[in-house]
Symmetry: C2
Subunit: 381 residues, 2 copies
Amino acid sequence: MAPPLDQRPNHKLIGVAGSREQLATPALILDLEAFEGNIATMAAWARENSLGLRPHAKTHKCSTIAKRQVEAGASGNCTATLAEAEVLVDAGIPGVLITSTVVTPDRIARLIDLNDRAKGLMVIVDDTSNVDALNAAAQGHDPLYVLVDIEVGCGRTGVVAPAAAIDLIDHVTASPNLRFGGVQAYDGGVQAIEDFTERRKALAADLEPLRQVLADMERRGTAVIIVSGGGTGTHDLDRIGGIFTEIQAGSYCVMDRIYNACDLHGTGRTVFKTSLFVRTTVISTAKKGFVITDAGLKAFATGSGDPVIVSGAPTGATYTFMGDEHGRITFVKEGHGMALGDQVECIVPHCDPTISLYDCYHVVEGDTLVDIWPIDARGHW
Amino acid sequence: MAPPLDQRPNHKLIGVAGSREQLATPALILDLEAFEGNIATMAAWARENSLGLRPHAKTHKCSTIAKRQVEAGASGNCTATLAEAEVLVDAGIPGVLITSTVVTPDRIARLIDLNDRAKGLMVIVDDTSNVDALNAAAQGHDPLYVLVDIEVGCGRTGVVAPAAAIDLIDHVTASPNLRFGGVQAYDGGVQAIEDFTERRKALAADLEPLRQVLADMERRGTAVIIVSGGGTGTHDLDRIGGIFTEIQAGSYCVMDRIYNACDLHGTGRTVFKTSLFVRTTVISTAKKGFVITDAGLKAFATGSGDPVIVSGAPTGATYTFMGDEHGRITFVKEGHGMALGDQVECIVPHCDPTISLYDCYHVVEGDTLVDIWPIDARGHW
């Protein structure tokens, strides 16, 4: 197993001036000022728009960050897994919503146990037999709050609306040990559409079945307290039309190449700053025109383009993966170069799966490492 | 931090008949019989060809596996990083070769310290200033064995042969606290060429500069004890021509989609069996034609195709990624389906970066979980 964080080489650099440039790499960097700005900006946006904010912990997997989001006004955190929820609940985070279904007997037992010690725990459902299993398991325990998951173009979990959604809502409300908390509808398919207008159009079309369900519920007088969905890509669109009561955005607190490329607000610029970087060291200068670093496919999630160098390299230099363990910094001008031991920082292509490669954030203020935060929800089942 | 392995839900399933199908997922599976067969097959191949075998631990990151490889006859293990070498040395593995350069002052100090407690440690070099730094740091310590890294088409570390390689060898032999152990030449660029003949041609061309260096050394009477290189893709070609003294293959012990697609021996079939799988659970059956699982971009390394389902799903079903947390199993016939809680196992697209996502192997014999092996070199810097 990996050693405790306080026994790792970078721990001794906490508080040392200039330590950001001396870290053993590859190292995940969190710029505290940018990060805190993002937390505050999104919290203020939610307040101004009278929307709830339940940021998704699948991005950060870190109870320290979850606490800061709640302190800034978030109602809790979403989690992608039961195991993440267990970590956050046991760290004192209220209002945890598990945005995946929990279906196996072992995990249902853990969920019920967790619910008895949690404050405001919720889970999604998209299947009547699963509702029955949860209801049976909750017998004799605290009532379990569930949201009915509705398909809105994501193609993952979620019942097809309106008919199946309404049936499932009825099934939940008829289950004595469950409480119908509302619905979840996450449109993962449109979050990364770069053009604001295109994203708006696609989202509006995808949300139509959800509108029908909500209209039907209103006609029937069934209260839908929570309508949870949205993300960093659509949050400024999700506020329109009064559909959602809360937003599940996750990436906004750190940002990445994908969301930096999106026109998030229709203004051509984003109000969020990149706070997450991977730092890597030059370990070979034996060739002309490029140098080799110590961060490859094991240090970045792939499939969303190359890392973007933001500091440490000559102007115009680009970063490409060279297998599992190495990256290549290619220079654009003769005479450009870097020395052994030099370091660069890169914006990551996709934040969530990159963060889950690491055990901790190196929290920096300017050039100084000021703290190390464990990614304490990583590696749990 | 992730909890100790013996406090995780799957630990209690060790020794329980049928437990392979009850694991909390996503879970990394190691089929013991296939794995042990691969270890024995490669060890026998090396003996028969009078070649050394120093398997690469960047694949498995596991001292338990390294021990088994050494017990089967390997001379040690390669590692991609100093931190991996520290884990293996401290687990008692002899003959560790660090196949990346170690260039920063902090890491050089750790390397020298490690060398004093290791048996047969070696590191590669590709730069004269790095040789000088290692030589200075080794003053007053055990002599440090180094291999000169030679470029043979990989485009990562390694000096360009022949001229720069010969100069660097001279520089090493003139360094009083270092010992010239030989050369490393890894041709990562050809390993995954699927056709045997094409791979052979590409390899032969790439190795030409190495041949020149070795011929020059022979003329000069300089002993090159170790010529280390090769991999799973080329091992059956690396034996030809008497260039290499040892092979660094790593993936052979587990195999993956990439190497299963390669004609490794020119026979149209491989002697190695797939021993590594990712097991995942169906968590949504709300749609027609497909179901959703709990293993996505955080459970498989991406960029080398999709996972290949080998058990648990109807014939012809395919696996695709559906974002960070989910996979989709798509059926090819009406009437095909799976139920909530059903599980499938998949061959991984690329073994090394997939393994480094996990903390442990679930070691199975048939349908029973028989052990859990920590991936103890993961998460070190």
